[in-house]
Point group: C2
Chain length 128, copies 2
DNA sequence: TGCAAACGATTACATGTGTAATAGATTACA
DNA sequence: TGTAATCTATTACACATGTAATCGTTTGCA
């Protein structure tokens, strides 16, 4: 509803952790990112703070620490990021993007099968 | 070969024009973007200059004006952007990305057919 | 042959981003 | 009960980005 905030690259990393499980304290997010991102804890705190300010996260206080949770819908953010990627790289046209990923990314036979089924559904499911 | 430069959102818009046709002078690029981007000519000059500095464009001089042309491969930039998008939004996993686009973007029956054929090739064509 | 137009280069500037240290408040343990 | 650990908030800072105006030079037309 209210306009989605812009979420930067580093911020996505943090959001993913909280979309995966929430609420979490800053310390838990730091733990979850251990290894994945070589960030100082202070860096993660900064990102959490910025995401609060942008309205992408909310928190409840628990003693002196915050319990963070997403305030924006993951699917909506994915749609926005997908659209933005299509516009930037493929002039908004989904077809060459799909061809690109099918051609250049590794897919197992099972995954290929699943995609075929999905395409079948799409064809029946009406134009939209 | 030499590491691809980072190309920003606005810069992509300019690169697309030159990948589409090159070389072009700044004035031609401005024309090509007329309507598409509501940019002052000066803005486009700035972007061309930055792309030169980054090594994404080269130019030859023609009188007092430059003829710009891409210095980086479009396909390579697309691969990089695709990978970066996958990493950011789908934890690097192509399958949910493909599902997302198939589900959320409009595709004609012909396009769906083409994708099916492409998936067939992929299945035969060996894992890589 | 002089002036206006056009060109690229330089400068501008607010905001975003990556990356983090520090300061001030609080809390938990000894 | 005091002190060390831990929180969030504040501050830092260089570089990227979007967006453009201006400057100095060249050039083409009158």
């Amino acid at each position: 509803m209210s306009t989605l905030p812009e979420i930067s690259d580093a911020e996505w990393t943090v959001m993913q952790v909280l979309w995966e499980r929430s609420p979490q304290t800053a310390a838990e997010v730091v733990d979850a990112l251990d290894g994945h991102a070589a960030w100082a804890p202070a860096t993660i705190k900064t990102l959490l703070g910025r995401l609060i300010r942008k309205g992408a996260l909310t928190y409840t206080e628990d003693g002196n620490r915050y319990c963070y949770r997403p305030a924006v819908d993951r699917a909506a953010c994915i749609r926005r990021a997908g659209r933005s990627f299509l516009d930037r790289v493929f002039a908004g046209d989904p077809m060459p993007a799909l061809e690109h990923f099918v051609r250049s990314e590794p897919l197992s036979d099972d995954q290929i099968e699943a995609l075929r089924r999905l395409l079948d559904e799409r064809r029946e499911g009406g134009t939209r």
